[in-house]
Symmetry: C2
Subunit: 295 residues, 2 copies
């Protein structure tokens, strides 16, 4: 298939490379020309923007930072909807794989539909490592027929490809993922902090607890990194902060109380505020230590 890809950052670049490896014809566009170079070197064709991709490709994918970026790419001047309209197309599938608010997706998808473009939300988990390995979990919202059409493309980038429901459902699943990973990291940090402050070896506690109900991939992986004091990202604190803001904004709109998500969100605010925004979100451990005079 002819696939257009917009946004070639830390996640987008390896994801796009995996589409090339999967044998697809890839057309790319990024705001910064230098971001496109590695893809062009690997055989992708450059485009002048979203409109051109919408004219020439079967599927257009975006992987950008936040809702305003998606809005711009999809509906802005020179964007996907404009290109599809100009070319008189009604068969274009647009897949946004960024992590943005479910309510933003639903709004953008509805406006894209009015202009003849079928939009899927397909946020991912698995991080840069999963993006490079092509082993991402991809959570999809949108109409089933478009999902089935896009599945072989998504399968080049991930191993778990799940349609969760209608438009926005992929982002809802991603938000749930960020609740579980955000609060998960925070609670493991609290347990490690509690153990060490009690004069007990947190490594022995982690080891004993991995055998029981407290066992989790976060205790296993992030717990070990906390013991190693390896705060290199991984997943940056400011990104996790952003994702929990999305969760709490949605909770605000729906009138939901999410006490642990809220507590963790506050901790991530303070982690970023303490200058650890570019470090891994396990830096919550250092924040707890500083807070209690044990840094």
């Amino acid at each position: 298939m002819k696939v257009g890809f917009i946004g070639l950052g830390i996640m987008g670049r390896p994801m796009a490379l995996n589409l090339l490896k999967g044998g697809h014809q890839l057309h790319v566009w990024a705001r910064r020309l230098e971001s496109m170079q590695p893809l062009l070197a690997a055989g992708a064709k450059p485009a002048s923007g979203g409109a051109e991709l919408a004219r020439d490709c079967d599927i257009v994918i975006s992987m950008v930072a936040d809702s305003p970026d998606v809005e711009q790419v999809a509906l802005g001047v020179g964007g996907v909807a404009e290109g599809a309209e100009a070319a008189g197309r009604t068969d274009l599938i647009y897949i946004d794989m960024s992590t943005i608010a479910p309510s933003s997706v639903r709004s953008i998808a509805a406006r894209m539909a009015e202009r003849g473009v079928t939009m899927l939300d397909a946020p991912v988990s698995g991080g840069e490592v999963g993006a490079i390995a092509g082993s991402l979990t991809i959570m999809v919202g949108g109409v089933e027929a478009a999902f089935e059409c896009a599945r072989p493309i998504l399968a080049c980038m991930g191993t778990t490809i799940a349609r969760i429901g209608e438009s926005g459902a992929g982002q809802v699943a991603k938000a749930c993922n960020q609740i579980l990973t955000g609060v998960g990291v925070a609670m493991v940090a609290e347990a490690m902090h509690f153990a060490r402050s009690s004069g007990v070896d947190p490594a022995k506690v982690r080891e004993a607890l991995l055998g029981g109900f407290a066992s989790s991939r976060i205790l296993e992986n992030h717990g070990q990194r906390m013991l190693d004091r390896n705060f290199k990202a991984g997943f940056k604190s400011w990104m996790h902060q952003k994702d929990l803001r999305i969760v709490l904004d949605e909770a605000h709109k729906m009138g939901l109380a999410l006490p642990n998500s809220a507590a963790t969100s506050q901790m991530l605010n303070a982690t970023v505020g303490s200058g650890m925004g570019d470090d891994d979100s396990i830096s919550i451990l250092r924040l707890l230590e500083t807070l209690s005079g044990r840094a």
Copy 2:
């Protein structure tokens, strides 16, 4: 070995039965005579109290509810220390397997040591199911020689037997376990609540997330029970409430901030206050639903 067992409730009874199955000579005592009957029927010998057990047994174990009970059993009139002193013994090992505060254990162990008794703290995780199956995780604090001596006895009741450190360290590990299971249940409840309130099938979200970093035994087991709306304990809310009180009391003493443990503790207070104390602690989900008018 001759083992004395005090406290034959939901956990203590199956644990004591597994000692009998392991070929040990078992002497039992419980406040209520009827609690002793199933053990006597299985071949245990009745005792008149902790003092008698301390005189006649190599090891005395207690499995009771809270710190004052352990204090009474260990140091009270007719208790273990009194019996050991009266018999002139200095080789008695006393193992408390209840879940109580690390600071309480350290204090009780120090006073037992003054009276010639070596105490281990050995709280367990794995619940009634693990107690019956003999598959508990047992986290031990206390001197190494006593631990090695007690290990074959503990191995009748659990599969993971870990010495975490000196006196109190077993309770510190258990406290960490209760942070991870308590906050773990609360965050899974928040994610399920968020998904359903967003109009998305929480079963599909759970399924997709089990493949990635959000995966945990709690998402797997307790998550499924939330989907099944099966609120039968399992582990009762009031017991988890008690265990997080221990965590926060210790945090208070040490001057530690544990925001997620605190948020979860508040949720458990309200769960018990809403009449769900005898239901499983996954009832936090129903509390969240009631809170946001979605019961």
